[in-house]
Symmetry: C2
Subunit: 273 residues, 2 copies
Amino acid sequence: MDSTTPAVAASTSSDVPKITLYWLEQSRSHRILWLLEELNVPYELKIFHRRADNMLAPPELKKVHALGKSPVLTVEAAGADKPIVLAESGLITEYLLEHYGRDTPLLPTQWKEGQEGKVAGETEAYLRYKYYMHYAEGSLMSLMLIVFMMLGMKTNSPFFLKPLVNSIVSRIYSLYITPNLNTHFSFLEEQLKTAPVTTTTTTTGPYLCGDHLTGADILMSFPLMACRGRAEMLRPANFPILYAYIDRLEQEAGYKKAVAKIVSLEGKFSSLL
Amino acid sequence: MDSTTPAVAASTSSDVPKITLYWLEQSRSHRILWLLEELNVPYELKIFHRRADNMLAPPELKKVHALGKSPVLTVEAAGADKPIVLAESGLITEYLLEHYGRDTPLLPTQWKEGQEGKVAGETEAYLRYKYYMHYAEGSLMSLMLIVFMMLGMKTNSPFFLKPLVNSIVSRIYSLYITPNLNTHFSFLEEQLKTAPVTTTTTTTGPYLCGDHLTGADILMSFPLMACRGRAEMLRPANFPILYAYIDRLEQEAGYKKAVAKIVSLEGKFSSLL
């Protein structure tokens, strides 16, 4: 089940830090695979499947990181005693971009000219990128977890309780979930409208930090695709720019490469729970 | 309701970027006030109160940031057209530490000697710090939000539904919340046990990144104090090191200064919902 892409440079393998991605099906980890493909860094892929009985992550993942979640990325540098173990999607994305993405458009330029190191001297594109490193998991995914929990309550309740559970869940949706989702989608629609686009002709439309794909879009792809997969959550008529943007993400060459990688190893790919 | 601490340096006020913290009672924003007090940077404080009817944030916060949440920090540099607006607690903490905390123990040293800029060249203390910048909100707080939602369901259901709602909530606790909380607490207990302590004599016990307080502890203080405030969530007998650590956080001089600041302006302070 393991697989290694060829090293990008002709350096000997002992010079190149060994990166391993612990990838779990239908999880947040797929975007890290996408990022690795975009950055074209050598990596090893370890594939895990969800438990059939409850769809949770398998217990073997706890051997990699005590919380037993995915993604986890390990980095083994030449001569190091032991690998470093990175968890949290936002941190993994930042770590890979800071080490391998500095000269790529995936990491926006940090400073406005002449304002290097100054308070508020950061470009808007960079500040947006940093914001999404935290917002994707800290705000949007935490709301999505509540949505998943409510869906689970509806699905798993015994049939004679279903009407009652459905009515409780509906109340939580109307009081809390739907207004919050709409606030987030309105915010993201506006962010795309006001993205700091620097070229006058762009054929692909705005991304979250400007006129091209960055690590922020890759990190945001998982919760956004999860929203778009459920018509009751995100309707194209209400948020047309956001909806079209999510469609574009799924057409990105790097995303398709990451999907193809999984298909080549597993025979199939499914993005969402 | 506003208040400004004196500028630390004798610089003229127009040179000093103007920092404003939008603080909401009983919210995640209190740790940013703590951080500002630790860093001893000048700031203005704007205080907001929760709505009496539903305890949500007041609508005025939407004028500061479209999501209407707290904390939000604005930074107005001399000569800038408009302030930058920062949301997400992890980002605000990182931003303040990178600009004002570089020479303080609050921000751990980034590189091992001789490994500056190298992949996996970061110190363990720094990697822990970066991890907590994401984990606090992305993992622990998102679990806490589910706990708050369950408590809300129990409190707000009509009396004739209470037995049923309580039994649904109990099931979610036993299947999902309690095992997850225990996994997180065990992980944190172990992190404190294995903190990279560099001094041989420490009277205050370990912090998350080593033998002294860092931004990671400040960011983690809110969800941890929320857990300790509820005996059914975190029992001292099960996680003694973690429990003692949370107690120590509440005794930190900077935390007490932040509390005193609110008491001086509001007449009272309550940390948790």
